[in-house]
């Protein structure tokens, strides 16, 4: 019953995607009003059918309808309620359905938010977005069909993958990444729309940039949560290992971040246009590549949870989207050149070069170059094993040393630019003004470095990182405070009123600064925890006391805990002054071929200044002896703080500025931004 309903909804979604794609093209090329309405209604139809198909699957999981193939694959009567719901993305077919559902939500929101404005672009945008939807709907309807009926349904299913069952973060981390990945199809469609329509006004860049910010925020949160999950579950006390699947999520983040910044230059100056478009399109292409890496089984990764035969089909889709993007860019971007020239001529602009060296423009240019290099190096390291195998028939793996070698200098350079950019004005600035702006930042940076040295954190890289964190922190903070004090002086207002007035007016800018603080938090946490990590393995018998740094640790004994869906061996450690730690070894009774595999779950004591981490390596059969790994990491939690701060900053930037509604109705041409 649910099989038929679900399948019907998926086929309806496929139908709507196809008609929407066609009608979008018709409406865009013929400027046909009826075709536009048709395209818009089809888009809503696609959204509704995909979302309902997802709800149908959740219902099937909840009522444990094992006659639905996906439920028989991941469902189990012993699985707790929350896990039953998150089982939607526990395995491949469900996660592609979920993917389609998120695409549906994004589609509906995009169509709704663009409304009847930007009529030159929106039909084209829907044409591309529905084109992408056709592929996903096709996947769900054919080779990844989760609704296949089972003639003789089993009475019990194997349950979801134990790794998914082991931590609540698995209910949040995958959806965040999906929201990030899938959402990138919206800015991609909007950029393609500009190329197809043959024009790009500054006004159109407003929704393009906003729709990049939304998935970028989710991607940022998803990446941090992924690191946190790895830290909280995998037992090695680290968050990031440059694994192919981790890198897969990092590539689009890098290009997306570069895009958000270069789009500002495009909006203000009309410069870096092709580059910005390439960045925006690459971001989506890299999310597809990322999905391929996670799903195809081509990459040998510790978390290729879901290997399947959709690889070749997906690769074909990637090839089509790559070729489409490149051909579109090569054939259509000269139309934009033409248009920009006309606009410049009308406004009396000369084809000016960017600006002087000491300007925000230059900082963003350098930042973009660094992000570009970063993306290239990570991508190279990720696909190099494939290259080595194809050309030399060698199996190698590219590990942390390779990535750390460039990630550290490039990362630090980006933090430095993050401090410089906001301190400098657009256009040009006299060297004296620039120095006047930068000296306080340098002073704060030096203060941070001195404090680090005095408190004993004297490794050169840590000191340098802290200097840069202080430098960038002040650069961004000053931008926050200065306009408020200016207004207080000019209008004789109190600090609170002035702050609300000033910040409310330029939300986009202040949101950006807040997002920068989030990144700085992560850099600070990484610099400290990586630089001053202590690790030790202890072999303890019951009652034995051992010393780790300043902590006195007693192994109080081990026991077994039993729940319906898992059995846990728990070791109890008492730490003088801190209380008890209970790291576990969980063994899940359900979970298909992964069932019965031990999953080590560390116990972590987190404080703002340090984490103390206990991870079992082995417990003897009689439970009287344990080998445990102890890790001390200073300021680790600051890395996780990054996620909510970045999210807050992005949300503030996304709030429409008070005057934006009026201005976006009548978009200004791209050239108009370059007044400064």
């Amino acid at each position: 019953m649910i099989s038929m309903l679900g399948r019907g909804l998926v086929l309806a979604a496929l139908f709507f995607a196809a008609t929407g794609c066609f009608a979008g093209f018709w409406a865009g090329s013929r400027r046909n009003q009826r075709a536009w309405e048709w395209a818009r209604n089809s888009a809503y139809g696609f959204s509704a059918s995909m979302i309902l198909a997802n709800l149908a699957m959740v219902y099937a999981l909840l009522v444990r309808d094992f006659s639905v193939s996906y439920v028989a694959e991941v469902g189990s009567t012993t699985t707790p309620l929350w896990l039953t719901i998150v089982s939607l993305w526990a395995s491949l077919n469900g996660s592609i359905l979920f993917w389609g559902g998120i695409l549906g939500v994004y589609t509906a929101l995009t169509v709704y938010s663009l409304g009847d404005r930007y009529r030159e672009y929106t039909p084209w945008a829907l044409h591309v977005l529905m084109g992408i939807s056709i592929f996903f709907a096709f996947l769900v309807a054919s080779i990844a069909n989760p609704f296949a009926p089972i003639a003789n349904p089993p009475l019990e299913g194997p349950g979801p993958n134990p790794l998914l069952q082991n931590h609540w973060l698995m209910a949040v981390h995958p959806p965040m990444l999906y929201l990030g990945y899938v959402g990138m199809s919206v800015p991609f469609s909007l950029i393609c729309a500009a190329l197809l329509a043959g024009r790009l006004e500054a006004g159109w860049m407003v929704p393009v940039r906003r729709w990049m910010l939304v998935p970028w925020m989710f991607l940022s949160i998803g990446i941090v949560l992924g690191g946190w999950w790895s830290y909280a579950v995998l037992g090695w006390g680290g968050a990031w290992a440059w694994d192919p699947v981790e890198n897969a999520s990092f590539h689009p983040w890098l290009t997306g971040t570069a895009f958000i910044h270069s789009a500002m230059v495009l909006q203000r100056k009309g410069k870096l246009r092709d580059w910005t478009l390439v960045l925006g399109m690459s971001t989506f292409l890299l999310t597809l590549l990322g999905t391929f890496m996670t799903r195809s089984g081509v990459f040998n990764s510790v978390h290729s949870f879901t290997q399947s035969d959709i690889g070749p089909v997906f690769l074909a889709f990637i090839a089509i989207v790559f070729v489409y993007s490149i051909v579109l860019l090569a054939l259509r971007s000269h139309v934009l050149d033409e248009e920009a020239r006309l606009t410049d001529a009308r406004l009396g602009h000369r084809g000016s070069s960017l600006a002087s060296v000491l300007s925000r423009d230059t900082a963003i240019l350098l930042q973009n170059a660094a992000f570009g290099a970063f993306t290239f190096m990570v991508l190279l390291g990720t696909v190099y094993p494939l290259l080595a195998e194809a050309l030399q028939d060698r199996r190698i793996s590219v590990g942390e040393p390779y990535f750390d070698r460039f990630a550290l200098p490039l990362g630090l350079m980006l933090v430095f630019l993050m401090g410089i950019g906001p301190s400098l004005p657009w256009g040009r600035s006299a060297p004296e003004t620039a120095m006047k702006r930068l000296v306080p930042s340098l002073a704060v940076g030096t203060l941070f470095a001195v404090v680090a040295l005095v408190t004993g954190y004297n490794k050169p890289m840590t000191v340098l990182a802290l200097f840069l964190v202080g430098f960038a922190l002040w650069g961004n903070l000053f931008e926050f405070i200065e306009p408020v004090t200016q207004r207080m002086r000019a209008r004789k207002e109190g600090p609170g009123v002035a702050a609300i007035k000033v910040w409310g007016k330029a939300r986009r800018r202040f949101g950006g600064h807040i997002a920068h603080y989030g990144v700085l938090c992560a850099v600070f946490g990484l610099a400290m925890s990586k630089g001053y990590r202590h690790e030790q393995e202890l072999n303890l018998n019951t009652g034995e006391v051992a010393q780790f740094l300043d902590y006195e640790i007693t192994f109080a004994g081990a026991r077994d805990d039993s729940e319906t869906h898992r059995i846990s061996s728990v070791a109890r450690f008492e730490v003088a002054g801190l209380g008890a730690f209970e790291p576990k070894v969980n063994t899940y009774t359900s979970g298909g071929r992964m069932a019965g595999q031990p999953i080590f779950t560390p116990a972590v004591h987190s404080t703002p200044t340090y984490d103390l981490y206990f991870s079992i390596l082995q417990i003897s059969q009689d439970k009287t002896n344990v080998i445990v790994r102890l890790i001390y990491e200073p300021y680790q939690v600051w890395v996780w703080f990054a996620a909510p701060i970045i999210a807050l900053g992005t949300l503030i930037a996304l709030l429409p500025p008070r005057s934006s509604r009026a201005s976006s109705v009548k978009p200004a041409p791209v050239g108009e931004g370059s007044r400064s």
Partner: protein, 186 residues
């Protein structure tokens, strides 16, 4: 129509190269591509206790062809090949069949075998043990010495103690027959 040729050429060339590279990944099987260094070498020594408490070592098996199968209770393909292995053990009484239970942690084996629903499997396991001994490898050291990357993996050892063949993944009856014949030769 004006075309930006550099974008087109560099872009399409890069795409073709990338897609070709990614496509090569489909042909590489992670399991079989691992270079097999054990075939033709002396079978690594072990001393393990079976589920009945008897100790087994490689030395005492010298002069006898030996078949070693690494498997786990949680491994589906292992269960699939099991009936065939039991039959083979019956058909070739001169070959010493040994199962080695593969797992990473002692705690997990313990928990897994003695708690529901595994106690059900445990009885299955004991009935299998009637046919041929199953040794427990609690810390996985023996699996490590044999270079086991996943279960099931099987090793054919001839009378002189040399590994003549290694099978990654489940064994089919034809391969088993062929390789057993080889190690039974004088």
């Amino acid at each position: 129509m004006k075309v930006k040729w550099p974008i087109l050429i560099v872009g399409l060339g890069g795409t073709a190269a990338l897609i070709a590279l990614l496509a090569t990944g489909f042909s590489a099987n992670i399991n079989t591509a691992v270079t097999d260094v054990i075939t033709g070498k002396q079978a690594p020594a072990f001393e393990l206790v079976d589920l009945q408490g008897r100790t087994w070592s490689v030395e005492e098996l010298e002069g006898k062809p030996v078949f070693i199968n690494f498997w786990s209770t949680w491994c589906g393909p292992c269960k699939m090949e099991h009936p065939m292995l039991l039959q083979a053990a019956k058909a070739y009484p001169d070959v010493q069949f040994l199962g080695i239970i593969y797992n990473d942690a002692a705690a997990a084996v313990d928990v897994q075998l003695r708690r529901p629903p595994y106690n059900r499997l445990m009885s299955e396991l004991e009935s299998a043990a009637i046919e041929y001994p199953n040794l427990s490898d609690p810390d996985g050291r023996t699996a490590l010495r044999y270079g086991v990357v996943g279960v099931p993996e099987s090793f054919f050892v001839d009378r002189t103690g040399l590994v003549t063949y290694k099978q990654v993944g489940p064994l089919n009856a034809d391969t088993a027959k062929r390789e057993l014949a080889r190690i039974r030769k004088q």
